[in-house]
């Protein structure tokens, strides 16, 4: 059995050996890394597992085989380098399954890790996506844009398409590595990858695994302006590059009810502040929005702008159309893309305010998010039509 050691000789011994499972753990503080290793040790046989990580191995886990990788540039998401490393190490060690654990993975239940790996080992799934149980009003960009848009466009029911923990089959890892390689060669080492979209594009099997709660790592820059532009812009770009794929009719994947329900909303969000931001934007950004949105949407926004914060709601179908229109404008470069995503922020805040009001009224957050996603699905023909004939809808 190989020993855990930062000494290069030991590492080379580990590199020569084979293992069924390769676990790639992102950079994290030593105590968190120790907890991840404890969890891994609890559910996997150390003989059949190799851990690749940029963290310094500790002597406590000498029975685990580790490989030292380079430090990732991101502290909150998986980077293209992570996918490239995963595929490379999986090939070298002939791994049958790869587990990618993002920053903050110590908060994951050991059984969740087992579930992700088993989906690949036993169910022959190519991509195992975790389904997190997050507190209310956490991961709102995902709930408002990423999940509904991915579900409608790629017919995928993955609730967290931008998951930071993944279970991969070797061929899925290879596929993601190819995409990551092309991104890296274009000097976009910090670009985001969309594994769900890639799995759909490659017609690989995919399943969602209930993993319970998890502490979501936050980007270093907490400013909503930069987060929304980065994540949404990346998804819009990916959708643009796969236009030929998603315009074909696809059968949506079957609905799978997860057992873990999030707690009821506490309704403490700063709704008044977000509604005020939207109203200020309506008074000043109308000219820019009119370049992107059709008159119908502008009229509905006008109606929203006169609502007070307590009764504020963003209709689901209006929100779906707004995102679709912004997606089309992103593709057509109607205005500068930075400006476009900046102009989306007040609308997103309006959706968040409406969502908090809805959940405060007693409707579970998940039910509202599902309703939004259903509205996106129902309006997909609008997106396809606008994508193909953009000028037809401007008047």
């Amino acid at each position: 059995m190989a020993t855990t050691s930062p000494v290069p000789d030991d590492t080379s011994i580990a590199e020569r050996s084979t293992a069924d499972l390769l676990v790639l753990v992102s950079a994290m503080p030593p105590e968190q890394f120790a907890r991840v290793l404890t969890n891994l040790e609890a559910v996997f046989d150390p003989e059949n597992m190799i851990v690749a990580t940029p963290n310094e191995p500790t002597g406590k886990f000498s029975n685990l085989r580790t490989i030292s990788t380079q430090h990732s540039s991101s502290t909150w998401a998986l980077t293209p380098a992570d996918f490239i490393n995963a595929a490379q190490y999986a090939r070298e060690h002939e791994a049958r399954a790869i587990l990618l654990l993002g920053p903050g993975a110590e908060s994951l239940n050991p059984l969740a890790l087992r579930g992700l790996a088993d989906a690949v080992f036993k169910a022959s799934i190519d991509l195992a996506i975790p389904h997190y149980s997050l507190p209310p009003h956490v991961g709102l960009i995902n709930s408002a844009i990423l999940y509904p848009l991915t579900r409608a466009v790629f017919a995928s029911r993955a609730r967290f398409p931008f998951a930071i923990d993944l279970g991969l089959s070797p061929r899925m890892a290879d596929q993601l590595a190819i995409v990551a390689q092309s991104i890296s060669s274009a000097n976009q080492s910090d670009a985001l990858l969309w594994p769900v979209n890639e799995a759909v594009a490659a017609s690989f099997t995919m399943d969602e695994i209930d993993v319970g709660s998890r502490e979501m790592p936050q980007p270093s820059d907490l400013d909503i302006n930069s987060i929304l532009a980065l994540i949404t812009g990346s998804l819009f770009g990916d959708i643009e590059s796969k236009a030929a794929l998603w315009q074909r009719p696809r059968r949506p994947s079957p609905v799978r009810r997860m057992t873990n329900e999030v707690a009821a909303s506490d309704g403490t969000g700063d709704v008044a502040r977000m509604v005020a931001a939207f109203q200020l934007a309506y008074a000043n950004l109308h000219e820019i929005w009119s370049l992107v949105l059709p008159p119908n949407s502008l009229l509905l926004l006008k109606r929203c702008s006169v609502l007070d914060s307590a009764s504020f709601r963003m209709p689901d179908n209006l929100w779906a159309r707004i995102i679709y229109d912004f997606l089309v404008a992103y593709r057509l470069r109607t205005i500068n893309r930075g400006h476009l995503l900046g102009a989306l922020i007040p609308l997103y805040l309006a959706w968040v305010a409406g969502h908090i009001n809805v959940t405060s009224s007693g409707i579970p957050a998940e039910r509202h998010i599902e309703a939004v996603a259903a509205a996106f699905e129902a309006d997909k023909p609008y997106l396809v039509a606008r994508w193909r004939w953009p000028d037809r809808f401007t008047s």
Partner: protein, 268 residues
């Protein structure tokens, strides 16, 4: 006797004052006429010297434009025949708008390339012809070239002004600044005033007056903006400074949910 009469008449003519006046009028008209004829000759000569160049310019532009249209049409047919668009779309995995498909872009590039070539050749022919008549005072052509440069400056200035105005407006709105529109308009007019001054300077119109007026106007706008922002956000600045003093080292620049809501709302 007759000779005496002739002498008497000649002396009488020499003493008569009216005769030289009628002689001078005729001379001026002759001189004016001669001057006009010479001027007309000069202008016609000059025009004749420039005309072939002008004609060459027009002919070169027309021929190359027609050639460009033909080449562009041929290129469209050829690229359509080899299914160039679908091959490119497949290879780089990107969707193209129908109005800007790869073959359309190539065809347009060919057309405008030909037009540009025609322009260069035409201008070159015109330049040669102009050089031969350069001794004659044609001041319009250099001014026209300045005007083209000024027009380009103006277009660039307007584009930059619009871009910056939008950037400022969106950033200010997202920072929930109430006077975002004023700020945006201020930036827009600053750039436009700067552009106008540069254009007039390029056209050599106004001289020092433009520089002086620009300085006054630019300074005025900056002062107005400073006063508007300073007076409008006095409370905001003082609150921000107090907050900084009280919470040194804490993050204070989260614009959307910096209050208690940030503890319950997390966008990612």
């Amino acid at each position: 006797m007759l000779s005496m009469i002739d002498n008497a008449i000649q002396q009488a003519d020499m003493n008569t004052p009216a005769a030289p006046v009628s002689y001078d009028n005729a001379s001026i008209w002759q001189h004016m006429s001669a001057a006009l004829h010479q001027s007309l000759d000069r202008v016609l000569t000059q025009l004749i010297a420039v005309l072939p160049g002008l004609l060459a310019f027009v002919v070169a532009l027309a021929i190359f434009s027609l050639a460009g249209m033909l080449i562009s049409w041929l290129m469209r047919q050829l690229l359509g025949w080899v299914k160039f668009d679908s091959r490119v779309t497949h290879s780089i995995k990107s969707d193209w708008a129908p109005s800007s498909s790869p073959s359309e872009l190539i065809a347009r590039a060919m057309f405008w390339g030909c037009v540009l070539l025609g322009l260069i050749i035409g201008v070159s022919a015109f330049d040669t012809s102009y050089a031969t008549g350069a001794a004659l005072p044609i001041s319009l052509l250099p001014y026209l070239t300045h005007a083209v440069g000024a027009a380009l400056l103006l277009i660039a200035g307007i584009l930059i002004a619009r871009f910056l105005a939008r950037s400022v407006l969106i950033s200010a709105i997202n920072a929930q600044i109430q006077y975002a529109r004023i700020l945006s308009l201020g930036v827009k007019w600053l750039v436009l005033v700067l552009t106008a001054a540069m254009v007039l300077d390029h056209l050599q119109v106004g001289g020092n007056v433009v520089e002086l007026a620009f300085g006054i106007l630019f300074g005025g706008i900056v002062l107005t903006l400073a006063l508007a922002v300073g007076l409008g956000s006095r409370d905001l600045v003082s609150r921000s400074l107090e907050s900084r003093v009280e919470h040194v080292g804490e993050r204070t620049n989260i614009p959307d949910d910096a209050s208690t809501a940030s503890r319950t709302i997390r966008h990612f």
